[in-house]
Symmetry: C3
Amino acid sequence: MNTDITRFGVGPKIAEAVAYNGILWVAGQLGEPSGTVTSQMREALAAIDRILAEAGTNKTRILSTQIWLADISTFDEMNAVWATWVPQGHTPARATGEAKLAGPEYLVEVIVTVALN
Amino acid sequence: MNTDITRFGVGPKIAEAVAYNGILWVAGQLGEPSGTVTSQMREALAAIDRILAEAGTNKTRILSTQIWLADISTFDEMNAVWATWVPQGHTPARATGEAKLAGPEYLVEVIVTVALN
Amino acid sequence: MNTDITRFGVGPKIAEAVAYNGILWVAGQLGEPSGTVTSQMREALAAIDRILAEAGTNKTRILSTQIWLADISTFDEMNAVWATWVPQGHTPARATGEAKLAGPEYLVEVIVTVALN
């Protein structure tokens, strides 16, 4: 029994998040494919808020993040949404790069690693 | 003495895996460059199985993974191999994106972070 | 109070590094945009040395790294700098892929996760 690992939103290929040793690893989050970078970024961050709440933590405890943009020229548009969401005094280590995502309609993916409470 | 860190497969530039605080970080694994996405994905996952066994853990304890595809249009081909390998009930957090790899003959790279036993 | 998380170089969007549970997550480090892959790689690694020193650790304790190159054809040039910097016997798990970075003048980004002392 691996009772020390807690998996959230377990699907056949991916779990939404996995907790172990006080750390939560969250699957890359996407927005709705019909939207803009702004709307998809907002939705991805809202999904992260929901997942962190389910695991008993919150965005003040994010340790690190990677943000992947399908087109790096949308960096500023992504970053404006990020700036309104990330809690001041609790900003994480971050890296941002261009990577095409699962389908061409996906514009941004956000991966976070978070401290549990 | 850094006896609290255990490194596996230590080479001059990279270690195959590094254990610390109950967590194993594994280097990005590739398949044989002559192959297809299917064969390279199988080989990368077999390499992960071998490395995890050497470190005393296994694929039921993977916490998170990143999968990098040289061509994102091969997503479904990669995913079919993943689906047959990943243990049900123990799926990790995952993110998949397109990234050209060390040489054009490499089609997929798999990075895992794993709980030790 | 989240006194168990220590953030270094906290800015409005990003922290330079975040410590928790004996692990340090460092933001992706870049070099000066005017330079070559060689100079940018050296500067990124020097920035990592500075950040690790501030957090009380050093490059012998790096657990894992991701290296993102704006142009994967510069892999060997990047790797030559890496080889002179990484301490023998203490090499980390590594993955290297191509990703365009925040601006076209940035040629390499280095992300490390490090054990604290």
